[in-house]
Symmetry: C2
Subunit: 345 residues, 2 copies
């Protein structure tokens, strides 16, 4: 005898009553409820996931889809770990469990998602690495699966999304650098077609134009979002006939490789070139400290969770004013890497 039956037999009571007692339903004497709860913890009873979700069509699981094999995602060391922690802080209140759905680098993300969804694995989904055009969005929207994406997409099905404020970063960086006399400003973008690259580049171009400056094509550097990518950017940059006097790095970890290649060439950030990047735990431990844009990843996770829940009928009442879409602000942390002032002629 297993499961709820065992518990019922042990208490000499029907399984229906046991279930009602455990799930906080009415129609059960408070005294028996107490006995059931106690026996449950004593015997270590936990409702079987399959049975429960088969019956009520809900799993109490939220999936956070990420792709393994880091060459692709390029997020910094602890990016997801921090976001997860924030998400869970919210989910814990509703007895929801967060699992990371790991899409292998060998499998197409769309196929993977179809499989997971069709199997009825999760009640809701959080998507990361949102593509500029992302079929996953249409797919989920069609089937009415609650989800939220981390990152905007051109694919618009009215879905909720959160994204980092790359426009704000672009605008502030350009304004700051121009104010310090820079005229030739380089920027970087991811090597693949992830949407943030387009957003960032476009806004940089606008911001420059507002100052009457062009965004020169050979000053837009594509790279893999890792240390090696940053190294390569610096090498390419230094090889130009007329190198830029400033650069804005869009990814977190590329700063390490970028610094190293500069250092090998005797070029010092903050003295010979201005560098602005993204915060990650090592940003302060570069020399000179990196001027960078930071955000609280944990808070971002909290917001993701709240936005998702507000899109789920069962929970929306708890989060009446969670925004369906939000551009998450980043804060400028002043380092010394952008101290370089261009001498005015």
């Amino acid at each position: 005898m297993k499961g709820i039956r065992r518990l019922a037999q042990h208490l000499d009571i029907s399984i229906g009553t046991v279930s009602r007692a455990l799930n906080g339903k009415p129609d059960v004497n408070e005294e028996t409820r107490r006995r059931v709860l106690q026996a449950a913890t004593e015997l270590g009873y936990v409702p079987n996931q399959s049975g429960r979700s088969l019956r009520q069509g809900t799993t109490n699981i939220i999936g956070f889809m990420i792709q393994t094999g880091t060459e692709i995602t390029g997020q910094g060391d602890i990016f997801f770990m921090s976001v997860f922690d924030g998400v869970q802080a919210v989910f814990a209140r509703h007895k929801l469990d967060l699992v990371a759905l790991l899409c292998s680098s060998q499998e197409d993300p769309n196929d993977y998602l179809r499989r997971v969804v069709a199997r009825g694995f999760a009640d809701g989904l959080i998507l990361s690495a949102t593509q500029r055009n992302d079929p996953r969005i249409e797919f989920l929207a069609e089937r009415n699966i609650p989800f939220v994406t981390l990152g905007r997409s051109l694919t618009d099905a009215g879905q909720p999304w959160l994204d980092l404020d790359f426009e704000g970063m672009a605008q502030a960086s350009i304004d700051r650098l121009v104010a310090r006399g820079h005229r030739r400003i380089a920027i970087t973008r991811p090597h693949d077609d992830v949407n943030l690259g387009y957003i960032f580049v476009d806004r940089c171009r606008q911001a420059l134009a507002a100052h009457g400056l062009p965004l020169e094509e050979d000053l837009i550097f594509r790279s893999t979002p890792n240390e090696a990518g940053g190294y390569q950017i610096a090498r390419d940059l230094l090889a130009l006939k007329e190198p830029p006097t400033a650069i804005v790095l869009i990814n977190e970890t590329i700063a390490i490789g970028f610094y190293q290649a500069l250092s090998e060439a005797g070029v010092k950030p903050g003295r010979d070139i201005a560098v602005i990047g993204r915060y990650s735990p090592h940003a302060h431990f570069l020399s000179p400290p990196l001027t960078c844009f930071r955000l609280s990843l944990r808070d971002l996770g909290i917001a993701l969770a709240e936005t998702l829940l507000s899109a789920m009928p069962a929970f929306k009442d708890h989060y009446p004013d969670a925004p369906a879409n939000k551009v998450w602000p980043m804060e400028l942390v002043e380092g010394e890497s952008d101290a370089f002032l261009v001498p005015q002629r």
Copy 2:
């Protein structure tokens, strides 16, 4: 009409036959099997996870338990992403899905594990952040849940485990440094009681003793396994009356902070002090390049998967000679950070 019934009705066939056809069972005409398979892909049918696993008591899911909120584990995203990718390469062959079971930093890992297991969530488990004494191991062993741990433990229930070769790293590092004339050698260990700290320290002590050298207590530095921890270590080390001439860093990311604190004090690795550490993607982009111990995380993941499967009755035949326990070797990557030779007196 949904699920398998819909498919059966569409083909004018019984659900039993459909199920048999899909699952590759005998007793089904090859022609009808073909029709079923085709209709399944056409209608996008995927068996419901709950129904299936309720019936056959198996989920085809393997859980990789990790703790979120990295202050504790110190392993970054890239670490797990790479390991995951290796694990999945193996699992894909058996139609097993890997999900990451995310234990919030707010919840006790043992409680979390009990919940997950009791719910019948996964067919097998991979545990990381193994503790020196780890109740999770007893728990899983008692219930006969197949699992493997990444990291040894004093808790021995005959469970399979894989671990990095910290003994080999300790031995090789000490021998190498002693051969270069070092007599005062510092080492680091994690701030918490994770088992690898004990293993590493013990072997360093042995290796030093073999050379007739003591391991001085004030040369063992505890730190959080991140950049800030490495920074603090360097500060403390430089503040000693008689600083060591060499150090072995046990964690990956602490090298960045360590380098920075040295640099601020005008001390250069490889010239003024010998440094040996662990490989991570930035190791080559430090200056000078870090001499470090490296391993293939993807291969480690593959081995983890194979060892786990060899502990599962349903799959053990495929992996007759997967080792139940293995100390995974690390390879020394020569940088320049340990080039410092102690002048002989």
